[in-house]
Symmetry: C2
Subunit: 204 residues, 2 copies
């Protein structure tokens, strides 16, 4: 049993909405610190997101190939190489969301899916949590980008993914985290439980 | 030469500050899309940050050990296991910032430092960029936490870091990205250029 975390935990005292933008929503909470004093915490409220690591079919023993996107990310002013990802619609099942985002952004549908885990991209000031999925058995189709969404779809070998993580051509946090999974799956050190896309809520 | 990215890049037309909080600052920019149409982009403006991966001295051949923190992260409502990190002061040199944050949060000073790269934790709605440093030759000392900052300092073996990344005990994006570096450094696949802390701007 780990020790209790009472000496770390902060408790909500009062809440205030400080931003209701078109896209961004933020709050300022007054919290009671472990010391009993008070402090304010400001953060972005986010509905959650998914990231998909799509594996192309390759012959047994051949290097793994993945689908990635190149997208201009306005806040950082750069074209970013990243795995497909997108925001969850209100109430949307996360697996369905992953299938929708993969289809809309890349055109691909996947026969099999595996849930790898979750990641918090920015614990200091966002509630966002990203659900991480791997997809295989890909069939290409038509994209359906949102209006105002522009991105290139590329296929990249595992060696290049790792090289780009090392040399700074990949700087996107979620994509670097996915590369850790990718490397350990490819080496056989880690494994996933694959499920057909037709099973479970994704059939809906 | 990669192809030009004109079909992806968005251009600023007009800028509006939409939040000046105690901690959070946000903007709404009107941008010209590659199609010529206009859209708005809302995002958090951040001064940048550092993350430090502190390596404990271990006998040659023994498993690597790192210093990590357990800190309650209010926006996600959980105690998060993560590498030391902190926000850059205005105009602060990034290497000095890394040394300061390591000292303040953990009490450790490091004899040698290596710059691994940068990561963007949240390209969709934050300008934040995290400068990633490794530190070794650690000597323990006194912490100097900010008021309102509560965190535990722990030492963790590399095998546990990777196990926790896999099983969901580590979900912090920057820490998962650092684990990719850590694993590839420990295996010898990747390398770093180490510099003594006394050299360069960090001497100031």
């Amino acid at each position: 049993m780990p020790p209790p975390d009472d000496h770390l935990i902060e408790h909500l005292d009062a809440r205030q909405d400080i931003l209701h933008g078109n896209f961004l929503h933020a709050r300022r909470d007054t919290v009671r610190l472990p010391s009993g004093r008070h402090a304010t915490r400001e953060y972005v409220v986010h509905p959650g997101a998914v990231m998909i690591v799509p594996l192309l079919d390759t012959p047994a023993g051949a290097p793994w190939q993945v689908i990635m996107e190149r997208q201009f990310r306005y806040p950082v002013g750069q074209v970013i190489t990243e795995f497909p990802a997108g925001k969850r619609d209100p109430g949307e099942d996360l697996w369905l969301c992953a299938q929708r985002e993969l289809r809309e952004e890349t055109g691909y549908r996947a026969a099999e899916w595996a849930h790898a885990g979750v990641l918090h991209p920015l614990v200091a000031y966002s509630t966002e949590i990203i659900d991480v999925w791997f997809a295989r058995g890909l069939r290409a189709g038509e994209r359906a980008l949102d209006e105002g969404e522009f991105l290139d779809v590329i296929s990249v070998g595992l060696d290049d993914v790792l090289l780009w993580c090392r040399d700074g051509r990949i700087t996107d946090g979620k994509t670097l985290a996915a590369a850790l999974w990718l490397q350990n799956l490819a080496s056989g050190a880690w494994s996933l439980e694959w499920q057909p896309a037709a099973a479970g809520p994704a059939a809906g």
